[in-house]
């Protein structure tokens, strides 16, 4: 009865993969436009998870409701970070950006640690354990919602990038920064908007994850490493790449976790990440000689 086990594993992998893809989307967007690897992405995801947690615990808001407040809030947070901290602190040097985003990651993660301690927290929503039957598998409702919501956000992002003025400006800057500057586009503003969008994706991902996941200051890191793997696999700056890559990685992780167990499953992800970095196709990102 292997199929009875494999199919649900794969489907669950797909569901999880969509949320990974959402995290990866933010990362790939930031890389595609600013050409920086945002080391603070994981810590920001942790912060978003805690924000969703607090909304539930103290405001009684279901995460599917608080997302509408948290997404704009985190957009502003991301905008502010890029505009007023990362941008100025980096003086344009790549090596500096690396250190600044690392510094932010350290600050955010440890601030969460200091305020919330390391204990794991969860929220209890009435539908957390509801299941839906599909193709012989029982799928948790939050995960199914997450799957569709992730695609929804991806579609919204696509719409923003293709149809709005700011979206066009973002694409212009991603392609040709100096040309865009000459055309009068405020590159600093575009960078900040992009960073804000990427961070907003994290807020949505957090609200989708929290019904069925736990919260502690280090959770974000695990997700972000998977997200990094997806982004490198799917192509830095590619939105469809992030989506497909996310689904793929979700399935792989699900199968690995099923066969290898939790910890080794985690190592599997790291090893996949390392292998992807070491063997990615030549010339894809121009970092190779």
């Amino acid at each position: 009865m292997l199929t009875a086990v494999i199919i649900p594993t794969v489907i669950n992998g797909l569901l999880m993969g969509a949320v990974y893809a959402l995290v990866a989307l933010g990362l790939t967007l930031i890389y595609g436009v600013l050409h920086i690897i945002n080391f603070a992405h994981g810590a920001l995801l942790s912060a978003a998870l805690f924000a969703a947690f607090l909304c539930f615990r103290y405001l009684g808001l279901d995460p599917y409701v608080s997302v509408f407040g948290l997404a704009p809030l985190f957009f502003l947070l991301g905008y502010g970070l890029q505009r007023f901290v990362i941008g100025p602190a980096a003086h344009g040097k790549d090596s500096n950006i690396l250190l600044v985003t690392l510094g932010l990651a350290v600050i955010i993660e440890n601030a969460l640690l200091y305020v919330f301690r390391a204990d794991t927290r969860t929220i209890e929503v009435p539908y957390a354990f509801n299941v839906v039957e599909f193709a012989g598998s029982f799928l948790a409702v939050p995960r199914v919602v997450g799957f569709f919501a992730a695609f929804g956000v991806a579609a919204a992002l696509w719409a923003i990038l293709s149809l709005t003025d700011i979206g066009k400006a973002i694409r212009a800057v991603a392609k040709e920064k100096i040309g865009a500057q000459l055309a009068g586009i405020d590159v600093g503003h575009v960078y900040a908007v992009t960073f804000g969008l990427g961070t907003a994706c994290l807020a949505v991902a957090a609200c989708l994850l929290i019904p069925s996941y736990y919260v502690n200051p280090h959770v974000g890191d695990a997700f972000v490493l998977v997200a990094f793997t997806i982004v490198v696999l799917g192509g830095m700056g590619s939105v469809p790449g992030a989506l497909l890559g996310g689904l793929f990685v979700g399935v792989v992780e699900s199968l690995c976790g099923f066969y290898l167990g939790e910890s080794l499953g985690q190592i599997g992800i790291f090893l996949m990440f390392i292998l992807v970095l070491l063997f990615r196709p030549t010339g894809m990102f121009g970092e190779r000689a």
């Binding site: 500096n96 510094g103 600050i107 440890n110 200091y114 490493l225």
Partner: protein, 322 residues
């Protein structure tokens, strides 16, 4: 190399060496030991990052390997502490060479290099947290045996002199590198790898050597940690805290300078003490402060303390001549 180059190293080291003669407070000595330990670990990072320009976010991989190798050899195989120390350094160097070879051969630079070193350190941390040989979740405990033959000492001053000697050795290594062809090539690769290659520099070989030396020095710090604290677990040995402190010290103190790591380590540890003083021992706050300092230093004083000092002295020189 003439005495003119060695003297500036000898004087501060000599000054530090006499500290235990006048200071008997265990609290202060402990602080100095830890500061020198971080300075040593930071010096390792400095060689690869400061002089070589390759920023590793996973130096814990070498620290932890040195620490675990030393500890496990003693605890499970009955090896004497001193050869275990040496083997620990070698083990760390080997891990450095392997990671370096894989990363540099694949052409990883900048952010990608930082990412992959981070990943390697995490893999080791997870492995250490489940592997039976390291005691898994429980950790590894070295048996207390306060005799020099077991590389443990009754007096804190003895530990202090050992770590000072190790740091002084690292200073010497850095000074030799600074005045060698290898060093000239290393900084050339940092400044502009392609231009260096066009001038005959085998960038891969240079970076690999730098990585290996860097790993060895950082591993020595790990070995010392094991002997001083006698307890390790995966989070201590391979945790992000040491990867962060390893880079923080040289960045704050002055990248690519021999004393930068020491200045930075002192600054970092003083900050840590301040944090503890203000808010008690709550976990996380010291690292928050470190993160803030990192961002501020990169933003406002990229040359670190050493950079500020040289800016002040050149301003004085200009004022004197002006």
């Amino acid at each position: 190399m003439n005495s003119r180059k060695i003297l500036p190293l000898v004087i501060p080291v000599a000054a530090l060496a006499v500290v235990p003669v006048f200071v008997h407070s265990n609290v202060v000595l402990n602080f100095m030991v830890i500061a020198l330990l971080i300075a040593l670990v930071g010096q390792g990072w400095n060689i690869l990052g400061g002089y070589g320009g390759q920023y590793s976010f996973g130096h814990a991989a070498f620290f932890g390997t040195g620490a675990y190798a030393t500890a496990i050899l003693q605890v499970r195989y009955g090896v004497n502490a001193w050869p275990a120390f040496a083997i620990g350094i070698a083990a760390g160097a080997l891990v450095g060479a392997v990671i370096g070879f894989l990363s540099f051969r694949s052409g990883l630079r900048g952010s990608y290099f930082a990412l992959v070193t981070l990943a390697f350190a995490e893999v080791l941390r997870i492995l250490a947290s489940v592997a039976p040989i390291t005691g898994a979740g429980v950790g590894t405990l070295i048996k207390l045996d306060l005799r020099p033959i077991s590389f443990q000492f009754q007096s804190r001053a003895a530990f202090y002199w050992v770590i000072l000697a190790l740091f002084a050795l690292s200073l010497l290594i850095v000074r030799v590198i600074e005045n060698s062809r290898f060093g000239a090539r290393l900084v050339a690769v940092r400044e502009n790898e392609d231009a260096a290659r066009a001038l005959g520099v085998d960038a891969l070989s240079v970076k690999l050597w730098a990585m290996t030396i860097s790993a060895a020095i950082t591993a020595a710090g790990g070995c010392f940690y094991a002997q001083y604290f006698l307890f390790l677990d995966a989070g201590i040995a391979y945790g992000p805290w040491i990867s962060v402190e390893a880079l923080l010290a040289p960045i704050i103190g002055g990248l690519g300078t021999a004393f930068g790591p020491l200045l930075g380590a002192l600054a970092v540890k003083l900050l840590g003490e301040l944090a503890k003083f203000v808010t008690g021992d709550a976990p996380g706050l010291d690292l928050v402060l470190y993160g803030v300092v990192l961002v501020l230093v990169v933003w406002l004083a990229p040359g670190g303390v050493a950079g500020l000092m040289s800016r002040i002295s050149s301003r004085k020189t200009r004022a004197a001549h002006g």
